[in-house]
Structure formats: C-alpha cells, structure tokens
C-alpha cells in the first residue's frame, strides 16, 4: 500500500510541477531577454484561462481546439503590452518595471472581476482518468503535462536552431553585444513579449482544463512563476520545466508526508535558498 501512495504522490507532483513549468515558460523568456520583472504574468495566465473557458462555454470548443485562437490573442496582447508599457521602461531601474507590471496586473484582474465576476470558472471533466494498478492517472493533467513537455522541447528547438531563436538567446546573454552583432534588439524585445504572453495563455488554457479558477488565482500563479524561473534559471526552457517539477514534487511530498498547510511555503523557501546560494540565480551572467 505504501508504494502505491508514493507512486501516486510522485505522479501528482510531476503533473502539478509540469503545469507550473509550462505556465512559467513565458516569464522565463520575458525576464531573461528584457530583464524586467513581469509581476503581471499570473494575470496574463488567467486571462488565457478565461479565453479558453469562454470559447468552451459559448462555442463548446475543447481547449485543445481553441488553442490556436487563444495563442494568437496572447501574442497580439504581448505585442500591445510591449509597445505601450515595456518600451518606455526598458532601461529604467527594477522598481519601475516592478510597479508598472503590478499596475497592469491590478488592471487586468479587476477588469476580469467586473466583466466576469468572481464566480468559480472551470471546465467539466473532459478526459477520463486511467488506473495503473491502484495509481490513478488524471486524464486532463496527463495531457497538460504532455503539452508542457512538448512545448518545452519545441521552445528549445526554436531557440537553438532558428535564426530568431538564436538572436533571442544572444540577447539573453548580453543585449549590448547582441546589438553590436547586428541583432535588431528592439524587434527581439517585441517578439519576445509576444511569445512570452503566448506561452502564458497556453499555460492558462491548460489550467482552465485542469483546475477551477477565479480572477484572484492570478496572484497565486504569479508567485509560483517566479519561484519556478529562479530555481530553473534563466535562458533555458528545460531548466524552467525542471524548476516547476522540483517545486511540484516538493509541494506534494510536503502535503503527503509533512503538513498540507505548509505546502506553499516550500516553493518560497526553495526560491530564497537558491538565491542565497547563487546571488545571481542559477545562470549567473556577466551583467
């Protein structure tokens, strides 16, 4: 009996963790490339969740079918945020990007509250669960984790092998050097914001599939996204996915074997420990 429970906990942790990872991918890109603290990431994720939810509720579209539309909305939103809010504060100190994005988060969350109220939203169970021995595999969470892994792989391929991807990675290393080598850094910033918010809405769509949410859930995911990115390190998608899984497993182990109430503290304690040991985060860059 003990083994089954352990297996179940491990699986739960893997599922939750990979969803955290997927949700944080967008933040990793935006933070790594533009070096700004996008505290509104949680709100953007939940915006994606609402998009998927309403497309399902009004048109009966399964989140996976409505994904292309949701991602397009995300990308366009990212571009508009870049040109309206990000461009002016690119070179400003951290305090400015922190406050601008906190303002943006307040605006998004409260607009959602006004138009969509604080009622619980969530999709009914669309995918059945399977049993492997006495370990239950939750259908939608499995699909979400698979999507997370596929997206991470796609992002790695994109960053590694496409011209656009390489210039993004160069900007992560050192934007001054990158611009010297002919990389149009401003264009990269805009596209990165677009991709970042696209990934956020992808994460949101899968959260809508698996978890009930309200506008207030944004704050929870914003904090987790940062913990994941710091632990996973900047600049590489695999690190973010692993960072998410580490937190997911640690949390679920705390829930099962220590005290469920302490679970959220785990992510933050890990975050602080990683930072205390490596003051500039796992990937300490020259800047």
């Amino acid at each position: 009996m003990v083994w089954e429970i352990l297996a179940q906990i491990l699986l739960n942790g893997f599922f939750t963790g990979s969803i955290y990872g997927l949700m944080a991918l967008g933040l990793m890109l935006i933070w790594g490339v533009l070096r700004i603290i996008n505290i509104a990431h949680g709100a953007l994720v939940i915006l994606g969740a609402y998009a998927a939810f309403w497309l399902f509720r009004l048109y009966g579209l399964n989140p996976f079918y409505s994904l292309p539309l949701v991602l397009l909305i995300g990308f366009l939103l990212g571009l508009s945020i870049h040109y309206s809010l990000v461009k002016p504060i690119l070179k400003a100190p951290e305090l400015s990007s922190l406050l601008v994005f906190f303002g943006l988060s307040l605006v998004i969350v409260n607009l959602m509250l006004i138009y969509w109220t604080a009622n619980v939203r969530g999709l009914p169970i669309l995918y059945p669960s399977y049993n492997v021995g006495s370990v239950t595999v939750i259908g939608d969470r499995l699909l979400a984790s698979v999507t997370a892994i596929v997206t991470t792989a796609l992002l790695m391929v994109f960053l590694q092998f496409t011209h656009l991807g390489r210039s993004i990675r160069a900007t992560v290393q050192d934007d001054e050097a990158a611009s010297l080598m002919g990389v149009n850094v401003n264009r990269i910033y805009a596209i990165t914001m677009g991709i970042g918010v696209l990934l956020a809405s992808l994460g949101g769509a899968l959260i809508a599939l698996t978890t009930p949410f309200t506008p207030y859930t944004s704050d929870i995911y914003a904090l987790y996204a940062f913990a994941v990115v710091v632990i996973g390190g900047l600049g590489n998608p695999l690190g973010t996915l692993l960072g998410g899984i580490i937190i997911g497993e640690a949390e679920n182990f705390t829930v099962a074997y220590y005290s469920p109430g302490m679970a959220p503290a785990v992510a933050f304690i890990l975050l602080v420990l990683v930072l205390a040991l490596r003051p500039r985060g796992l990937l300490s860059r020259r800047r």
Binding site: M1, I5, Q8, I9, N12, G13, F15, T16, A118, N119, V120, R121, G122, L123, P124, I125, S129, N131, T136, I138, G139, D140, R141, I207, T211, P212, F213, T214, T217, I220, Y221, N252, V255, A256, S259, P260, G261, A263, P264
Partner: protein, 351 residues
C-alpha cells in the same frame, strides 16, 4: 436594502411608542482591510450618527467592527460573521443572526446519523482560513461526541491549485463521509479531483461552494449527490410567526435585483434587519441598552428560520443550518425535516 424596502413600505416604519421610524441605510466598501474598517466604522458612528450597526462580511473584519462599536457603546448585529471567537471576547453588544461556524457542519452529522446509523468513519478536510478551520473543529468535536471516528482531519492551503495529494491521503482512510472544503475555487476542485482520483464516500458535504449556481456549471453532472450546509435557501419553508413569508422575500428580491435569485447572504442580511426591528418594537425605544435587553428574551420564527440568542454572549443559538443537495441539476433543501422540500439521496453511488 430589501429589508429597508420592507420596513418603509410594507410595515410602514417601526412603531416606537407612538412615532414611526423609517430606515435609512448607510454603507461603504471595506475593501476587506482591517485598517479601512476602523476608519469607516468610526465615520458611521461619529459622522453619520447611525443608531445601529451591521458587521462587514468575514470574521476578521467583524472583530475590528465589533471593537469600534463596543468602544462607542453601539449595538452591532452580525451577519456574514460566523466564527465563534467574536463572542468569546467579552463583547456583549454583538448580536448573532446566523449559525456560528462551529455548528455549520453539525446538521450534516445529524443527517448522516439519521439516514445511516452504520456509518462510522468521517474524513474532514478543510481550507486553511479562520472560517473553515472553525467549521472543521466544530464538526470534529460533534462527530466524536456522536460516536463517529474521524479517520482524517487535515487542512490544505487556501491558495491550493491542486489537491490530488491531499485526496490521496484521504482515499487511503476510505471514509463513509467526506466533509469540509472552504471557499469557491477549492470546493469545486475538491469534488473534481475526488472524481478524477476515484475517491469514494457515501456522503460529500462541502462548505460554501455548493450553494453557488456556478458549482453545477463547473462540474456538470458530477455535482449531483453533493451536499452542503447553507444558512438559508430560496425553496426553504419554515413556519413563519414574524416578518414576511419566504415567497414574499424571494419575489420582492427578484423584482428589486433584475430577478436574480437571492443567495443566503442576502437572506441573512434581511433577517438581521428583521431581528433588529423585532427587538426595537419589543423594547419600544431606540436606546441601545433597552434594545439589547429586548434581544435576550426575544424568540422569533422567521422565513430565515428560528432566531434566539444566548443572553450572556449574544451568540445565535436557535438558528440551524439547512442542508442542500444537488439532485440531477437542481439544488434542493433536504434537511432539517421541518424545512426540507425533498428527501436526501443517500448513499452517493461510486463515481
């Protein structure tokens, strides 16, 4: 506001030794912060010069409001404040209208005892906030008093986005009944993942979330059989000796608020107003001390249910929770028998 309409139009004011008083309501948004509550209640008392007060929604804010009211010797009728501790602080000016948190899940246990004397194991899993924690503690004591054994008693963070591991531990104790929950999102999540993880029990009773129509919208048919405590339901029919009938309240409310069905929060507010009105009429005075004394001996049967307080502390003792159950898409009151419109479907078939 509905109560204000009732007093000013239906009973044509409150008769207090000869003069008719009409109700004027003053209210602000406390933005759920204690510091705001202090400022706004001070403003109500000293600037708006109100005679009587109602508490803001949530126990934490209720404390602060009660403190301010007590310092000015004002009476404050509690609605939306369920935690018992407010009545353990030595305040005498706080009048409880709704069933306190510690008794929220009591009627669920009574129902279980009545419909299934063989049931023995109860699992209690609740959200980590003052209200839910108190409900859970109350349920645990009452279960033990009634010979049940509590096979799981644990909390989860109120910010939880995944309860699969909590439910895995609950599943291991294979309980007859699973009760608890907390607020909206986690209540729905609990049921959704219970199904996904195939966690079975003959009875599910979840706090707060089950009362919302959004509960069924989010879960679809999986919501059926799930029960939940509620202070009041539109289809409840208590014997009424004071104040308007249930039908009147529901229909008037819907007329006033572009026919939205009232939730128990609005009914609770109306009942608190009604309770105050009855006490003023009994005391035949607006003086706080006299009205407070009137409450001690007041026992009403209203559309919201029986109302009576414990004279020493002011805590509500008579009002009982009703239990609702989703029965193929419709939310029905199934307990207590005196107010029920349908019998509970028990036991709940496996997922």
């Amino acid at each position: 506001m509905a109560w204000q309409y009732y007093v000013n139009n239906v009973t044509n004011g409150i008769m207090v030794n000869g003069t008719r008083y009409y109700v004027q309501l003053v209210y602000y948004d406390d933005q759920s912060s204690n510091t705001q509550v202090t400022a706004l209640y001070e403003r109500l008392i000293t600037q708006d010069k109100v005679d009587f007060l109602f508490t803001p929604y949530s126990s934490g804010l209720g404390f602060t409001a009660a403190t301010v009211a007590a310092s000015h010797g004002k009476l404050i009728v509690a609605t939306g404040v369920a935690s018992d501790t407010i009545w353990k602080q030595g305040y005498t000016n706080v009048i409880g209208t709704i069933t306190p948190a510690s008794k929220y899940l009591v009627s669920t246990i009574d129902l279980l005892k009545t419909y299934d004397p063989t049931a023995k194991n109860i699992a209690i899993v609740y959200s980590d906030d003052i209200f839910s924690a108190m409900c859970a503690a109350g349920a645990k004591n009452y279960s033990l008093q009634n010979g049940f054994n509590v096979v799981y008693y644990g909390k989860y963070p109120s910010t939880a986005t995944d309860l699969s591991s909590v439910l895995t531990s609950v599943k291991a104790t294979n309980p007859d009944a699973i009760i608890g929950g907390g607020h909206f999102a986690d209540g729905v999540l609990l049921i959704k993942q219970a199904k996904q993880l195939n966690v079975n029990a003959k009875l599910f009773s979840i706090l707060v979330a089950t009362d919302e129509p959004a509960f069924y919208q989010s879960l679809g048919s999986d919501a059926n059989y799930i029960m939940g405590p509620s202070q009041w339901e539109p289809d409840v029919n208590y014997p009424v000796s004071y104040g308007p009938s249930n039908q009147w309240f529901v229909s008037t409310y819907m007329k006033m608020f572009n026919n939205e069905t009232p939730t128990y929060h609005s009914a609770e507010g109306f009942a608190a107003g009604l309770y105050l009105q009855a006490a003023i009429e009994k005391a035949q005075s607006l003086d706080t001390a006299k009205v407070r004394a009137a409450f001690n001996t007041l026992s009403l049967n209203t559309f919201f249910g029986p109302l009576q307080i414990d004279p020493a502390t002011g805590i509500q003792v008579a009002h009982q929770m009703v239990i609702i159950q989703w029965q193929n898409g419709v939310k029905r009151t199934v307990w207590p028998p005196s107010a029920a419109v349908a019998n509970p479907l028990y036991p709940k078939p496996p997922w």
